[in-house]
Assembly symmetry: C2
Homo-oligomer: 423 residues x 2
Amino acid sequence: MNYRNMNSDQRREELARCKAEFDRLKSVGLKLDMSRGKPGKEQLDLVSDILTVLRNPEDCVADGMDARNYGGLSGLPCARAYFADLLGCRPEECFVGGNASLALMYDTISKAYTHGLLHSEKPWAKLDQVKFLCPAPGYDRHFRVTESFGAELLTVEMTPDGPNMDQVEELVKDPAVKGIWCVPKYSNPDGIVYSDMTIRRFAALKPAAPDFVIMWDNAYCVHEFEGDFVPFPDIISLCREAGNPDMVFEYASTSKITFPGGGISVMASSEANIAYLSKLMGVQIISYDKVNQLRHVRYLKNKEETLRLMKKHAAVLGPKFRMVLDTLEREIEPLGIAEWQKPRGGYFVSVNTMDGIAKRTLELCKEAGVIMTAAGATFPYGKDPRDRNIRIAPSLPPVDELRQAMEVFCVSLRLAALEKLGS
Amino acid sequence: MNYRNMNSDQRREELARCKAEFDRLKSVGLKLDMSRGKPGKEQLDLVSDILTVLRNPEDCVADGMDARNYGGLSGLPCARAYFADLLGCRPEECFVGGNASLALMYDTISKAYTHGLLHSEKPWAKLDQVKFLCPAPGYDRHFRVTESFGAELLTVEMTPDGPNMDQVEELVKDPAVKGIWCVPKYSNPDGIVYSDMTIRRFAALKPAAPDFVIMWDNAYCVHEFEGDFVPFPDIISLCREAGNPDMVFEYASTSKITFPGGGISVMASSEANIAYLSKLMGVQIISYDKVNQLRHVRYLKNKEETLRLMKKHAAVLGPKFRMVLDTLEREIEPLGIAEWQKPRGGYFVSVNTMDGIAKRTLELCKEAGVIMTAAGATFPYGKDPRDRNIRIAPSLPPVDELRQAMEVFCVSLRLAALEKLGS
């Protein structure tokens, strides 16, 4: 029964029930961590054949290049071709990096500050003010990159179709607004897939800043855990066709395809952008780990093979997400105290509680031994203005632990709601 | 016979001999590249067992951590311990990175510009002027890092004991002087090992800038190709003992121990510096490739095992360096037109010709099909004021090719000298 429709007596009874249930769960002494989107051991094991794909010196030669030696700043040609296949862009538009796409994003922003981007009038460090758009809820690590350089973070509302594009189109009229963070497919944390219209409006943006940059983190480009692969437009061609060829940088990695701690990453953009940034990157590195690039190409082969592998990941992840979504539907939906998207890919379930109880809910979870991503983390500066967004990361714990964690979460949420509603 | 002691007729005859010899070599149509300190294929093959050191999931767990998953920003504990053993510092002083120590150096300087170092009054980007000391001949990639941020590069003379410390001690009285680049053991390109006195004077520096940084690139810390391992003092303890605990950052990598294109790297400094920089690095990356870190620790084990492996590298490199040094001694020394150090480690032989003929010598080499590091590259801004330094990198070509390349080099040098001396 919806909590708001209960009378005082009913709420008092419900509170008592919840407290008893909470105390029981607390006494179990759980120690569960659902704070980060880490793959579980089963997923890591299922790709561990990659360890021995390269076995001897002859295996290490590709494209006439010995992957073991120096050289090849922008990546092995076969690795560039692999990511082009995955993302639907051209190999020449791909710059293949080390194990962290976050590092490539950071490099882009860092160089914008110290050297400027291709169309910058001056390095951003020389400007009085830099503003950056942050669709929220979003990915805390994105926001922190721009925050660490002193940019002012402006929150953009998220809708079921992606960022509120009316708001974006308005905000980019300010020449101090230099860019926007996006996770276009299975957004972190909502799991929203940007609609075709949203994507087209992105490609057609007419920002006042000539060096405005769309940071297109396609982290979950092939990461369906439910149903078949969902094709997704290539933002780089769309921007080119819309007359904005150099406006977007796209990122992806194999962190959640092979190993989070030992994958490869890519930065994709117009050839002009890649040429410009490669010159700057060439000052900092001779080449990224090409042995690991080759290991990945030999193991993952191409998009088709990769999609086959992602089905195996889905077989592990699907039941975990269904457990979370089913539990929420059963335990929480009837109470009218929270809402959430029902993602079919990505790594998170994002719950919006009634206003003002996200922090309290997570406090209670912690008290009962379940650590979740800190409340507010999904907003710029870690401050959720309505204190309502909670990011659930179901990937790491085994299903049994997840069940326990969700029990704790649901009763904590109910308690927090009842405390707020009063009796 | 010394060219300077020849009379006109003798020189004319010698010139004719050289020209004939040069034309003969040119007609062979060589295509040799000695421009970079790349290990040769034989060296890469001898370490390729590292490819299969990790074979299955269980192999990937170390220090209670699954190397395949996220986490561990400063590196696997066993990798930190490995580098501490190698360098003679403490594990807590080591931050283990990806395949490129150059990237860690770049990060340090980049963050000094955007955020400041531990003792910076402000980020260097906010200062009117930053000057950086460059002992030269030195490593072009070092110089380019600071140049790319707009620092003014000041050349410091190299002596057989290391940088001229009288000059360094004088220059650091200028508060705009923010640091110095050093390759303390088998310096690039001279192959000089800094003397104990030089190292102690470094540790005891009293720079005017509170955030002065010694960039101690110990790239060749175990890279003897002749004779036994030469122990080397730990600069981090020396700085601590001299009351300058946070003045030095040391770097090293396995690029020339295992694979240049797939090794691991380290940045070592005081715990306070590592803590400070880790906070900034944590914005750009979750962790470096820990699978490769573990692969390296399992393969290289410790300093003792690594030194055994370096003997095998020496067995490949030694003959190449001896060929270069013997050829120079036989062909050039009697002529009095060039001088060089006789290194016992590192990757280069650095030749100082008589003034004003380095460029011309390399032009002739190129004409005959032998590419060497561009003249001037070993000096700030790529400008050798006396046009005399040439860096020979003998590691890549097989001995036979190297013999041909050295023939070309010697005759080119003789020709250039004779042109200069006139008849």
